[in-house]
């Protein structure tokens, strides 16, 4: 299936390349600068990602409402939610840090997932939901701000660090964060801007 579709130019370096239909697992790379121009797009991949994002939203909700860890020093215990860290930083007077942590670990990932869900919903159902193009831009700009995997590793590091100071126990929230990190890593692998652009164009034509 090495059939050439058309000749186009790399958006970064302007080198010409031949657009072609890819087989499973193949990527189309720019021969000049190595930018990934196109991914293999399975016709069902949108549905797969939609399912993944829905699962992520549920995990996100659970991760926020269940405690992550319980810390115990000489019989005094303190359990913590994702928001507790933000709260205590705020109370200590470090509000810029509190805002940063809040945005990067709760607000922006949540917004990213919601926008992604909306975009995928519109694309999968072939429905001209309003503002899909704007949402695509939002999803793209928020992509690097989804720091859930980093948060998951930080949780692990925190547990290891606190083990020296007292007794520490995992709670169910940590499990949800771990799941969420794995899901978001898989979802970013599937993201393909071109797939959405083609889909949006076909929705516009049909409506």
């Amino acid at each position: 299936m090495n059939e050439c579709l058309s000749s186009e130019f790399c958006p970064d370096c302007g080198a010409p390349y031949n657009d072609r239909i890819l087989s499973c697992g193949q990527d189309l790379l720019c021969t000049c600068c190595g930018k990934k121009l196109k991914k293999y797009g399975n016709p069902y991949s949108l549905q797969i990602v939609w399912a993944l994002v829905t699962a992520s939203l549920i995990c996100m909700l659970m991760a926020n409402v269940t405690p992550i860890i319980v810390f115990n020093v000489s019989g005094n215990t303190q359990s913590s939610f994702m928001i507790t860290g933000v709260e205590s930083l705020f109370l200590q007077g470090y509000w810029p840090l509190a805002i940063l942590v809040f945005l990067c670990s709760i607000a922006l990932p949540m917004l990213h997932l919601l926008a992604y869900w909306y975009l995928l919903g519109g694309s999968c159902l072939q429905a001209p939901w309003p503002g899909l193009k704007k949402i695509l831009v939002i999803v793209e700009t928020l992509m690097p701000w989804n720091l859930i995997p980093v948060f998951a590793v930080a949780t692990m590091a925190a547990v290891v660090k606190l083990k020296q100071l007292g007794t520490i126990e995992w709670q169910s929230g940590a499990l949800w964060i771990g799941l969420l990190a794995i899901l978001s890593l898989i979802t970013t692998r599937f993201f393909d801007r071109r797939l959405f652009e083609d889909m949006l164009a076909s929705i516009e034509i049909s409506s």
């Binding site: 970064d12 370096c13 930018k35 020093v73 913590s80 606190l162």
Partner: protein, 162 residues
């Protein structure tokens, strides 16, 4: 914003990151009070403590993510800005820029670690953990790094050549 202004902004952000990088590594990031013992910790101090207590895999992750990565990012951005508009090392520059965009955010791990630790460290005299000004400088470096990397468009590396 014109691309010229945006380039200027990138330069300013890199410069700010360089200025913040020094205090972020010298000023303590947090203070731990355990059973009355007060110990201020810098980023490097936290890493050293972890490695000494035998937790070197975690220490290594923190070391790479919060000391090596921000430094490398500043160096790479400087190199990219230095070579801006010249026909040297085009491929290497765009590859580095791509890699940097992908892994750059792992530097946030230290801030998250601080927030999780500060969340449970509220047991009064037994165990209390407080953030210190170093964390502000540190997050300043991170933000400058992330924004300078995002604002520098990868096509600028090639633009001057056409």
């Amino acid at each position: 914003m014109t691309s010229r202004q945006q380039l200027g902004l990138v330069k300013v952000l890199v410069l700010t990151a360089i200025i913040f990088y020094i205090p972020s590594n010298v000023v303590p990031v947090m203070t731990m009070t355990l059973n009355g013992n007060v110990s201020p910790l810098t980023v490097m101090g936290g890493v050293r403590e972890m490695i000494q207590s035998g937790l070197w895999p975690v220490g290594l992750i923190i070391f790479l993510a919060s000391i090596v990565l921000p430094f490398l990012k500043i160096i790479i951005m400087c190199a990219i800005l230095w070579l801006h508009g010249t026909p040297l090392y085009l491929e290497e520059r765009s590859r580095l820029h791509r890699i940097m965009k992908k892994i750059g955010n792992w530097a946030m791990i230290d801030i998250f670690l601080l927030s999780i630790i500060a969340a449970v460290g509220q047991l009064g005299i037994l165990a209390s953990i407080h953030a210190e000004p170093g964390a502000l400088f540190f997050s300043g470096v991170l933000l400058c790094n992330i924004f300078s990397c995002e604002l520098y468009l990868s096509k600028w590396i090639w633009k001057e050549m056409k």
